[in-house]
Symmetry: C2
Subunit: 116 residues, 2 copies
DNA sequence: TCTGCTATGTGATATAGTCACATATAGGAG
DNA sequence: CTCCTATATGTGACTATATCACATAGCAGA
């Protein structure tokens, strides 16, 4: 399959949840940064503490360099131009890998909670 | 109670799991770095990927500066000297806070898994 | 003496996320 | 026309967390 070595989705570096959250929005169809930020507010990553918008834009840039997403410019007749993102096959593979990783996280957190 | 503002245990900065893992070992009784590392191998934070030992020592130093743990030197007749750590009341408060935070993480991860 | 286990640590680097700040279009209120 | 709000995107500097390479020291057994 794809080369995911060193990618955060392998769980190598106990990641935060921004990357899988972005992937979960994109898998439902292409979208742009601002719309994702609005959706992530609804998802509410821990309490009422949505992720910083700069982190979302920056993560999208990094994910594009890594080949997980591709983008094109959407210049509507009215309103600000926007960057439209779509998942690549590599991005979909990354997403599948995240399912396992998140499941492992959940089990680890369960173990921790039991021993606290 | 204690001033935990800005402390990672409030969940402010989607943390990794090293701090609560260390607290979970210490709450069972005082211990030293090496023993904690051995226990954390058993806990296996994600797959078979135990935390780096330098991170544990460094985190303990930081936690001592923050007043979550206190230490004294244990110089046994034979073997290398070791740093013995115990939880402080502030450390116990931090631990209690972590329970809520970890529970929130688990719920967030559950939500994410459902939407992937 | 050499190896391995116990036990502790520093220096440099990498990664992830936050805070303050900057830019631009467009619509409505005053 | 100006100000405010919403939409939309970003950079620079900083902080927090974790990893990699490397260093040290006691003691036990081959």
């Amino acid at each position: 399959m794809q080369d995911l070595k060193g990618c955060a989705c392998t769980g190598k570096s106990l990641p935060r949840l921004l990357r899988p959250a972005i992937l979960s929005v994109l898998v439902k169809g292409g979208s742009h940064g601002y719309a994702m930020i609005e959706e992530l507010k609804g998802l509410s990553v821990v309490g009422d503490h949505p992720p910083d918008h700069t982190g979302v834009y920056r993560t999208l840039q990094v994910m594009e360099k890594e080949g997980l997403v591709v983008s094109d410019w959407d210049c509507p007749g009215s309103g600000a131009a926007r960057h439209n993102y779509r998942l690549t096959p590599k991005g979909k593979a990354c997403l599948e890998r995240w399912k396992r990783t998140l499941d492992e996280y959940r089990r680890t957190i369960d173990m921790l909670l039991k021993s606290l």
